[in-house]
Symmetry: C2
Subunit: 347 residues, 2 copies
DNA sequence: TTGAAAGCGCTACCAG
DNA sequence: CTGGTAGCGCTTTCAA
């Protein structure tokens, strides 16, 4: 029958006890004699009573929910992220609110609105202005996911710069390439900012001239196709392109072969993220694997922990390791994937 | 400063009015003299007061939230779905709870748990048992998304069967193919069930022998690669495969070309959904476009509407049109996409 | 071990 | 137009 028809009071009356006792029983708190407990339990079962969430939340001053704020791009990356986060939250009987800010002008206000409905907030790096993050952090536990927050706000991330540098070094040193370009917009997200930084860093380390400005495009496949046109139109095309993520790299592959050129013979292409498709295309994509799901799961756990008061040494944040995944698109012989780990795990 | 430090009572005292008046002002309900209103508003602004969500929700007996339950597969499909749903909900200042049931044994219990925290629930077809859906529908507004619910539960969907039949007819009649196979598990989701039904239906309509049993695989790219191996191993391989979605079709493409065969010359391949990648691969994928985002958005709107009491003629549900997208992978000459619409829109 | 009662923060009804 | 007040459903002291 009806949802919240039954209240504690009803059950209390039915079981011949006080509401306090019913509460104690249904929460497992306090001392209740075995017999009373059994009686209450029976009344609860019999009538299918479930404590009303709002009543409980208001009295306990806990929402029993956490929020996840992300820009709302499509693709496998965000699905993984959401699932990793959710799977961890549900273990703590905490529900997950989501908010996509993408293309919404007043998103910061919406995030603040959401902050009033949850016990903690995970924000994807670059989604919300630093000022707003600080404002949020002052009112509830906040963790930045895949990015950096202001001082004092813990962040869970991978070392994108180191990974991008390792990847670039592979092209520069192992393959002897000299003319590389970066595809992606460093101002679009912290991930890309760092990858671009790592790309340049590798050039610097090898005392090579710094690369030209990045081809600023979005993170989706069509953006990669578009970038391919840009690249192939040059008088002196690059020998390789380091793409900000796998999806642009996949688009690049399409655009390049659409122009009758071959990868890696005519142009080397690399990606970032190691989405499923990366291993399946021809040639298979050399890329960087990052544990997106674990990243998100760890973020959720950290958030729940802080929200629960275990303020441990959480402030520091976490850096997850990445793996360089060498496949065919960089010019390496295609065979079993070869991988090497970059970055350490700081707890 | 603190989050909910301030209460109505404080503001009432500060503004020299009663809590009732503060409530009226902050909700825009009831009549308040311009002067009083101004005074209250000033107190609110000055102290940055925001009504506590839980207090309000408990008193109003509304959670101000809706839930979205989905299996939790990866890929572009779910990202689109989530975003479409969320974008609509946020317009009504309603927050979105998500729950992924994938691989979780006690998911039905979790769904019911969630039902106690929201004003309405959207459930992806095939995610929750029909019995549980009925149970849920008895306690709050429920809409089934991409599937069919029990009688009385509105559903928002596309006519998968008609679309799959149209696609299959194209292969059978226009291309004169005779040996087709279906790739996908009809028992996996309502979408696939219907597509499989449409596939057979087309054969029946043309008085052709019914196709053999489907190749039962999942909906991800690697599943398609695996299916390709199955298909190519046959003594008499099929002339074409109709895949349950684009991702398996993409995997099929990879698996086929990995075996040195060509699409569509040696094997025709079609997909379903028209994800971005479908247009970008070689050959571009012939598929069916379904308006996933609109589907989800409409679901949210319907749900909010029912939850708000506008029980209109919502019971019926909605069927969105699909579009057959003819590209190269079916053997048609590659060029500008050619599309034709299937299904009508029922309001 | 149990119950009475005081809220949690807000809305809404009913007088005035 | 405004204020007092009775809850919304539950938790949690404080006594008994």
């Amino acid at each position: 029958m009806g949802s919240g028809r039954l209240t504690v009071r009803e059950i209390a009356r039915l079981a011949g006890v006080s509401v306090a006792t019913v509460s104690r029983v249904s929460n497992g708190t306090g001392q209740v004699s075995e017999e009373t407990r059994r009686r209450v339990l029976r009344a609860i079962e019999e009538h299918g009573y479930r404590p009303h969430h709002l009543g409980r939340a208001l009295a306990a001053r806990r929402h029993g929910a956490v929020g996840l704020v992300f820009p709302g791009l499509s693709g496998p990356y965000f699905s993984e992220l959401i699932q990793g986060f959710e799977s961890e939250a549900v273990k703590s009987r905490t529900s997950v609110h989501i908010l996509c800010t993408h293309l919404r002008a007043d998103s910061d206000a919406e995030v603040i609105e959401m902050a009033h409905r949850v016990d903690g907030l995970a924000v994807l790096g670059g989604t919300v202005s630093p000022d707003t993050i600080e404002e949020l952090a002052a009112m509830l536990p906040v963790v930045v996911l895949a990015g950096d927050g202001p001082a004092g706000v813990p962040a869970v991330r991978v070392d994108n710069a180191a990974a991008a540098a390792a990847l670039t070094r592979h092209l520069l040193a192992d393959h002897g390439l000299r003319r590389l370009e970066f595809v992606g917009d460093p101002s679009g997200s912290p991930d890309v900012t760092e990858r671009w930084a790592g790309f340049r860093q590798a050039h610097r380390e090898l005392s090579l001239p710094l690369p030209r400005a990045p081809i600023r495009v979005g993170l989706q496949q069509p953006d990669g196709v578009y970038a391919a046109e840009q690249v192939l139109r040059r008088l002196i095309p690059p020998q390789g392109v380091v793409c900000a993520n796998d999806e642009t790299a996949l688009g690049m592959l399409v655009g390049v072969s659409g122009n009758g050129l071959r990868v890696p013979e005519d142009l080397v292409v690399t990606g970032f993220d190691d989405i499923t498709m990366a291993a399946l295309v021809t040639p298979p994509l050399t890329t960087v694997r990052q544990p997106v799901r674990e990243l998100a799961a760890r973020t959720a756990r950290l958030l729940l922990q802080v929200a629960a008061g275990d303020a441990g040494r959480a402030d520091s944040g976490l850096v997850f390791p990445t793996e360089l995944v060498i496949r065919g698109s960089c010019g390496c012989p295609t065979g079993t994937d070869s991988t090497s780990t970059t970055g350490r795990r700081r707890t």
